[in-house]
């Protein structure tokens, strides 16, 4: 599936929730089920810098696609991580780098991605994008 198709799928799933609290309950459910990051990647270097909520990021590049291992100590952030991994994992670097992450607006949870929030989501998306740009340029130089 393309990034756009996955985003549409998530938007449709979230349409079934009547109110904001139900959406957050869903995030809690998703976050609880997120597989923890491989302990070898749970390092100081892999922490997203400058965030009050500890969040670890690791990616691997295989057959022209990027795969993610991301974790956080907040269940809500983990819930968003599940959605972000679903959208981006297994996609090509250029598609990730150029993706318009419109599903966050459509499901009505944009405030969580504000650079003004103490969480790590804004910086996490930033990291996903810069990571994709890195793999793209590495690929082009090979």
């Amino acid at each position: 599936m393309t990034i756009q198709e996955i985003q549409e799928e998530i938007i449709n799933e979230f349409k079934t929730f009547d109110n904001e609290m139900d959406k957050y309950n869903e995030l809690i459910k998703l976050g609880t089920d997120l597989s923890p990051i491989d302990s070898k990647y749970k390092t100081e270097d892999n922490l997203i810098k400058g965030c009050q909520v500890k969040t670890w990021f690791h990616s691997a590049f295989k057959d022209g696609k990027i795969f993610y291992d991301i974790d956080s100590i907040s269940i809500i952030i983990k819930g968003f991580i599940v959605l972000l991994i679903r959208v981006f994992s297994g996609q090509k670097p250029e598609d990730i780098k150029n993706a318009d992450l419109y599903f966050i607006d459509e499901i009505g949870l944009r405030e969580n991605f504000s650079p003004l929030r103490a969480n790590s989501l804004f910086k996490l998306v930033d990291r996903i994008k810069s990571d994709a740009a890195f793999y793209e340029s590495k690929q082009n130089n090979e």
Binding site: E20, I28, I73, I75, A118
Partner: protein, 412 residues
């Protein structure tokens, strides 16, 4: 200025003085429990600031004209108000800064330059705010000196016997927080000062979380420096105070050079103005200082004793209610504390709790509250902090407890 004297403490009347409290957040009445971060402003402060800008604005200490003279008089009168509020001996012992952080950095630089040598020691405590740690670390690095730390017990109280053991001939200064911003512990500052003075060591007190909750008498405490911020005491942001005993301020070199702080400038040599101007380089935040004066008038009008008594009621009530909540762990159980509730709920991350409290209209702070070493002591990364003020109510505490139960249900 309007008379804000309230003879009997009436929280409804008091709340009416704070326009920001009368609003809804996500459709819920705002419960503002983030007073440790900043306090809301009473109407009298808002009106004062607005009037200063619209009717009186002019730079201080420079003009020969009417407005400048008027503003200078108000600015110096604000200094006098701070002097009275702290019961300082002289008004020139009151230096206006931008806040506690600037005040402590000023002492760390100026005192450091004058008195600290290689291998000297400065004592702080385990419960300090980063702004009473990092300036001393910078100074120690500059001078080759060392930082020593007073440990705390499980209740969040300083271990005074350990403090006494840290003092030696190399100790040059003690810098200690009056009230812990994370736990609410009120430290026995008078005793701490007395112990240091027996050894001829000066003491700086970070009063950021004390000044708005209780009477502070710097002569009675006998501290050498006392720092606080205006915005945490119902005044404007960007204004703070450094109180320093005349002797130290006279001996210490200025930490910033510029206009207003000089006596005579020559390229070969510059002489400095007298106190307090020696430490107030550049145009001061005169409007902020006068706004702070209005806030201090407001607090004395209500009465610090009334405030302290009412906040004690909030503290006792809140402690009972929160400790009765299964799964909630309170941090900070000092015998003497202000109305700060630092807690964790089950195994839910503080950010998640804070985010849902926000959705329910309750403003709290989450995380380490700029006291990372303190949380290392408790082996957690931080807490949810509800820090109350005298405009908060018992009903708001009830609502907090109900909201926390709701959050527990969501995470079950």
């Amino acid at each position: 200025m309007p008379d804000n004297k309230i003879s009997t403490f009436d929280v409804t009347k008091i709340r009416n003085n704070f326009p920001v409290l009368n609003q809804k957040i996500y459709g819920k009445p705002l419960i503002y429990f983030d007073n440790g971060a900043t306090t809301q402003k009473p109407q009298v402060v808002i009106d004062t600031m607005s009037k200063l800008h619209s009717e009186h604005n002019s730079n201080v200490h420079r003009g020969v004209h009417y407005l400048s003279e008027q503003m200078t008089e108000m600015y110096e009168s604000a200094r006098k108000k701070v002097q009275d509020y702290l019961n300082a001996q002289y008004s020139h012992e009151i230096i206006f800064t931008s806040g506690v952080t600037a005040s402590i950095n000023a002492v760390a630089y100026s005192f450091g330059e004058a008195y600290i040598k290689e291998n000297d020691e400065v004592i702080v405590s385990e419960m300090e705010h980063h702004s009473n740690i990092v300036p001393w670390q910078l100074m120690c690095k500059r001078k080759g000196a060392h930082l020593k730390v007073i440990p705390i017990n499980a209740q969040g109280e300083l271990l005074l016997d350990e403090y006494k053991k840290l003092i030696n001939s190399k100790t040059k200064l003690v810098a200690i927080v009056h009230v812990s911003n994370s736990l609410g512990t009120i430290n026995p500052v008078k005793e701490i000062v007395a112990i240091a003075h027996k050894n001829n060591i000066p003491v700086l007190i970070d009063g950021a979380q004390a000044i708005q909750h209780q009477k502070v008498d710097v002569q009675d405490i006998d501290c050498d420096f006392y720092a606080f911020s205006g915005h945490k005491a119902y005044g404007p942001t960007g204004i703070g105070v450094l109180y320093g005993k005349e002797r130290w301020l006279n001996e210490m070199p200025p930490y910033q050079g510029g206009g207003d702080m000089i006596d005579r400038v020559r390229f070969e040599h510059t002489t400095y103005d007298d106190l307090p101007f020696k430490f107030e380089a550049g145009t001061p935040n005169y409007i902020g200082a006068i706004g702070l004066g209005a806030a201090l008038d407001y607090l004395t009008g209500i009465g610090l004793d009334n405030i302290q008594n009412y906040e004690k009621k909030l503290l006792d009530y809140g402690t009972d209610k929160l400790t009765a909540l299964n799964g909630l762990k309170l941090y900070g159980a000092a015998g003497n504390k202000t109305c700060i509730f630092s807690f964790l709920l089950n195994n839910i991350h503080s950010y998640d709790v804070g985010m849902f409290l926000d959705k329910m209209g309750i403003a709290v702070r989450t995380g380490h509250h700029c006291t990372q070493p303190l949380w290392e002591h408790y082996k957690v990364e931080g807490s949810v902090r509800a820090s109350l003020a005298f405009y908060n109510t018992l009903e708001e505490i009830d609502y907090l407890c109900e909201a926390l139960k709701e959050i527990q249900k969501m995470f079950k």
